[in-house]
């Protein structure tokens, strides 16, 4: 069996392993070939050794598992590849934002006090999310029955919003036309959603008109 032929068998084995989506045994790989061109087990094993070598430095590697061989994305590349599957960050609920705003402007404040102002209970999830994000922390306990925790904002909160101190928070009195700002934010959010969905083109792409145009706009993307 000459070099060219071995290279061909190797390409076919690689192609099959990439197309199969599951491990293939040595026998399954051999059965890709009609009888009179079928490589022996020894040749197939040799080819797989060569394939393994040929994957050095690439994005994937040959792994032997119980049911055969499979090509697998290199583990050390997982941090990058994992970003493909990251869920899109969701938006925070209005309740969470109100709670955060009240903690920022009225700190130190207890959950009960937030509930008094909001007129509804504050779910533990909201408090937990804010604590986990390290935007708020417990700075003490109020000396009343139940000794409720008092919350305040953190340095991370200031950093996130690019503030050096709470006194840089915009005073409410200065913000006259909040409704206008609200509309603007809504528009931005809408814009983002549309942008995201048109970016997502692969799944469904309602933003694009006629197919030709879709093809053209794609061209400009690259």
């Amino acid at each position: 069996m000459n070099e060219d032929h071995l290279a061909r068998v190797q390409a076919i084995a690689e192609a099959a392993l990439l197309a199969a989506g599951k491990p293939l045994s040595l026998e399954q790989l051999r059965e890709l070939f009609v009888e009179d061109e079928r490589p022996s087990r020894q040749v197939m094993e040799h080819v797989l050794v060569q394939l393994d070598k040929a994957c050095e430095g690439r994005g994937f590697e040959l792994k032997k598992v119980a049911s055969g061989y499979r090509l697998q994305v290199r583990e050390e590349l997982a941090p990058w590849v994992g970003r493909l599957f990251e869920e899109k960050p969701q938006r925070y609920s209005r309740a969470l934002l109100e709670t955060l705003a009240l903690i920022a402007y009225r700190q130190p404040i207890t959950r009960g006090e937030i509930e008094d102002i909001r007129g509804v209970t504050v779910s533990s999830n909201i408090i937990r999310t804010l604590l986990e994000r390290e935007w708020v922390r417990v700075v003490g306990h109020r000396d009343v029955p139940g000794r409720p925790a008092m919350y305040a904002t953190t340095r991370q909160f200031l950093d996130y919003f690019n503030l050096t101190g709470l006194d840089e928070l915009p005073p409410l009195s200065e913000v006259r036309d909040l409704e206008e700002i609200g509309r603007e934010i809504e528009r931005n959010i809408q814009g983002e959603i549309q942008f995201e969905s048109s970016q997502n083109g692969s799944s469904d792409d309602p933003g694009q008109p006629g197919g030709n145009q879709a093809a053209e706009s794609e061209q400009t993307l690259h």
């Binding site: 192609a15 402007y105 003490g140 609200g182 931005n188």
Partner: protein, 275 residues
């Protein structure tokens, strides 16, 4: 591949052995006897092979080695009517389009028989023109469909390459928040609570409240801290004032207590809740 519908699963039967007959170019693969005796089974198969009257007409034209542009309407109409007649005689359900086409052909044929007026634009008056145009249009897309079928496609000629995944880090990215969203939320809640007009939230008060939080966090646990240690000289006079205001506010809100063991002795501060 999992969401195959009837249309897809029926495809092999429809597009299988019978199709070549419809793809004929000059030499039909299924020979229809000249005397038009067609066994019932064969007729059913025969009709299924066509995508409608235009397809059948194209087949008849091809079988006669006719140029579309030069259709012998009389001959084509005769053959077409023969098929339609045979189908009806067999009591097969016949799609309405076939009957409409039969009527169209009959009309063209009759108009062809009428004496023609002398005009300078013959083609416009050719009663076959519309039929020819439709046949030509249909033929183009029939060909295009065949071309598309020949194109390399996924799952037949192209297989996506994929590799198994290693263990991936699971991280949920945090939502982004805009400062204005925060303000808007506050605006909403204060408006609902009817606190908006009471000016509880003032610019200068915020630094005081921040300092209150800071002092409280310094006073974590059951420990006394000297009053002076709350102040930082480097902050200057304004810092001292803010700290002092914050301390007073904390005392007022009964969050801290201030203890002085003896007159002029050191002042200590601790969180009330700790006691």
């Amino acid at each position: 591949m999992t969401d195959e519908t009837d249309e897809l699963t029926h495809a092999p039967a429809e597009a299988g052995a019978q199709v070549p007959l419809a793809l004929v170019s000059g030499k039909p693969l299924v020979d229809i006897p000249k005397d038009l005796y067609i066994p019932p089974d064969a007729l059913a198969v025969f009709l299924e092979a066509f995508e409608g009257p235009l397809d059948l007409l194209l087949y008849l034209i091809r079988r006669q080695n006719m140029n579309i542009l030069d259709i012998d309407v009389s001959e084509i109409t005769r053959q077409y009517m023969d098929y339609i007649g045979a189908v009806e005689a067999m009591r097969f359900e016949l799609a309405a389009e076939y009957l409409v086409m039969a009527a169209t052909l009959a009309e063209i044929k009759s108009r062809m028989l009428l004496p023609r007026h002398e005009t300078d634009d013959d083609e416009e008056l050719d009663p076959r023109a519309e039929l020819i145009r439709r046949l030509q249009q249909y033929e183009r897309f029939k060909k295009a469909a065949e071309d598309i079928d020949e194109m390399p496609r996924m799952e037949r000629d192209i297989f996506a390459a994929s590799a198994a995944l290693p263990k991936l880090p699971s991280s949920q990215p945090h939502p982004e928040v805009d400062m204005r969203e925060l303000l808007l939320a506050l605006h909403g809640v204060l408006k609902r609570a009817d606190l908006f007009t009471s000016h509880h939230v003032e610019k200068e008060r915020l630094s005081t409240r921040e300092r209150m939080s800071h002092i409280l966090s310094v006073l974590q646990g059951d420990r006394f801290v000297t009053f002076e240690s709350l102040f930082t000289i480097e902050e200057g006079r304004l810092g001292v004032v803010v700290t002092f205001l914050a301390t007073l506010e904390l005392v007022k809100e009964q969050l801290i207590e201030i203890v002085q063991a003896e007159v002029l002795g050191p002042i200590h501060v601790r969180a009330r809740a700790a006691s």
